[in-house]
């Protein structure tokens, strides 16, 4: 465990909660909040009837986090239905991804989750129809800058995010699990063909279990910016525990990783979930997945980078290397998404935009306290 990480041990063993002091809770609540895992922790304690053992002050924060998460889940479930109605109008089939899929399919990672947007997958040839059907129902594009539009449409695997004009919810429309410019490129047609309907889910579809795990692993280790590395790892752990109850799942997972060329992300997923979260995975499965490990020279470096980046993102967990580790992994993720000659101009532009945002800063002085 990273130095000072009070959160992960408690997530793994919630029964330790009654032994925590107020000073311990002071650290746990802050780490939990920064890692976007406070509601998850609260839910685990609540499920085991341990919330009442938490002193009143920290308990109120846990309960508040659960209230927020419940609201998010209700909103996502509603949005998924609205999106379904809009796309049915355009006769466009779609598959829910990530958080929205966990909610729709009532999977364990849904509990305590916070959502910033909804991700869906459509067939590349139907993108225009999807955009049109959504536009008619109130979703409009957010990135009006022609550069950003090009970045998303041409190089990435998604349209620029759509925002609903009235509800302000954000929808990310993907046509593949990874960008066309990326080194790993699982065949979207295969992924599409294996998607399954949600039981009682009114026509909603999600990825099949193996693909869901592989997508989550790929997103964490190859696609994302590791803002919520620990949260994503906790999701993976929850998915593996849930699907892993079926013995037939594991051979399917290994075969599918080979079939889609996603052996490396699977290796990382099993390595770090077993190491950090004690996920119950048979040693034979881990060994088999390790055939796709990076070269022996790279392994210690990746271990060091990930171990620092998978701790809660809070000053109490920071070691001197952490900002560097995160930055290196951020660069790596972008490198894996885009070739170098495209990457540098893009990163420069992103840095520019951060210094000169188009939106004015939040101005609390006039009494408006809305976070931007």
């Amino acid at each position: 465990m990273a130095a000072g990480d009070h959160l992960t041990p408690l997530l793994l063993q919630p029964e330790r909660a009654p032994r925590l002091t107020l000073a311990d809770w002071d650290i746990v609540v802050r780490q939990g909040r920064r890692a976007a895992l406070l509601a998850t922790l609260a839910t685990r304690l609540d499920d085991r009837h341990l919330l009442k053992t938490v002193p009143e002050r920290p308990r109120r924060h846990l309960q508040a986090a659960m209230a927020i998460a419940h609201r998010h889940a209700a909103a996502v479930a509603w949005e998924a239905g609205e999106i379904g109605r809009a796309l049915a109008f355009g006769d466009v089939p779609f598959v829910l991804l990530k958080g929205a899929a966990y909610v729709a399919a009532h999977l364990p990672p849904a509990a305590g989750r916070l959502f910033s947007d909804i991700d869906i997958l459509v067939e590349k040839g139907r993108l225009a129809d999807a955009e049109q059907a959504l536009l008619v129902h109130g979703w409009v594009t957010t990135h009006h800058d022609p550069y950003d539009q090009r970045y998303y449409r041409q190089w990435m695997h998604e349209l620029p995010p759509l925002r609903h004009v009235r509800r302000q919810t954000v929808l990310d429309l993907h046509h593949a699990l990874l960008p066309e410019t990326a080194r790993l490129h699982p065949d979207p047609a295969k992924v599409w063909a294996a998607a399954v309907a949600v039981e009682g889910g009114a026509g909603l579809r999600v990825l099949c279990p193996a693909d869901m795990v592989l997508h989550s692993a790929t997103h964490l280790f190859f696609d994302g910016e590791l803002d919520h590395g620990l949260r994503d790892l906790v999701d993976l752990d929850a998915l593996l525990r849930h699907f892993g109850n079926d013995p037939a799942f594991w051979p399917r997972l290994l075969d599918r990783a080979d079939e889609l060329g996603l052996g490396r992300p699977l290796h990382y997923a099993l390595r770090y979930t077993t190491q950090r979260l004690a996920t119950p995975v048979a040693a034979a499965v881990v060994r088999s997945a390790a055939r796709a490990a990076p070269t022996p020279l790279a392994a210690p470096l990746m271990d060091a980078l990930f171990s620092r980046a998978l701790a809660p993102d809070h000053p109490t967990c920071a070691t001197p290397l952490t900002p560097l580790a995160r930055f290196l992994l951020y660069l790596r993720a972008h490198y894996l998404r885009m070739p170098l000659h495209l990457l540098l101009p893009h990163l420069l532009r992103k840095a520019w935009m951060r210094r000169h945002p188009e939106r004015p800063p939040a101005r609390p002085l006039n009494g408006e306290l809305r976070e931007e």
């Binding site: 107020l22 000073a23 809770w25 002071d26 609540v29 802050r30 909040r33 920064r34 002193p55 002050r57 920290p58 109120r60 924060h61 309960q63 508040a64 209230a67 927020i68 419940h70 609201r71 209700a74 809070h314 000053p315 800063p361 939040a362 101005r363 609390p364 002085l365 006039n366 009494g367 408006e368 306290l369 976070e371 931007e372």
Partner: protein, 303 residues
Amino acid sequence: MKVADLPAGAVARRLRHGGLDLRLGPFIARIESPIPAVTEGITQLWAEAAVVERGFADFHVRLAPPAGLRRWFRPQVLFEFDGAAPFLPLPREQAFAFLEWGLNWCVANHAHQYLVIHAAAVERHGGVAILPAPPGSGKSTLCAGLIARGWRLLSDELTLVSLATGKVAPLPRPVSLKNESIEVIRRFAPDAVLSAPCHDTTKGNVAHMRPPATSTARDGEEAAAAWILFPRFRAGAPLELGERSRARTFMAVVENGFNYHVLGGDGFDAVATLVDRCGCFDLTYGDLTEAVATMDRLAQEQQ
């Protein structure tokens, strides 16, 4: 032990090293800052606030210069909550005001055991008047006037309605006054403690009035809501107190609710209960003395 009881220099020392833990109404805030304006603001305006032992703090906040050039050139201050900065920086002179508003943000986004309304709350004879109002409505001036004439301050900015009890919980903090209101209150309440005005290019001058010691001393006492009143200041206007329909009061409270959307159905029920038990009014006034007298009469009638 209150802030005023700390030895000279202790406030500045604790703010610089390790943080100062203060109880503010239902919350404990751990505050860190190397900036002198923050020390001054806390020493002057939070003199009556309770200093507590280090244990669990609800909100860890820090006001510090940002890294880079803006440490020295046109210096700025950054508000950090749990090590992250939710807002862009402000000019350094506004550091104490930034602390006030930053804490409001913390409460509004995390204290979901309450319905948090953007409103002032003042109490008289056991009944709380909730004054929701957009900026510029004269809410703070009226609030300052009332507490200078014996009303207890529960809050100037954030009214906390407990979901469990339905009562209003106190969070007495300095009342912010703008421009002409500063002079009005100086004349209305010559004994009130006011900070030196802070100059903001968009809003003019802002000053803070320290809450009466009695309000801070009773900051553990919830009280029942009795009125929801929408003030509107119009210079020279005759006083008008009119009833507002409960349904429209309901919608206005929702619009002024910071965390209403998080609470879902519980939020709806909380507002409904509030509206059920309160008298709902619009109050237009041009003269502060008249307005205070009207509110006093209202409080007398319900006794």
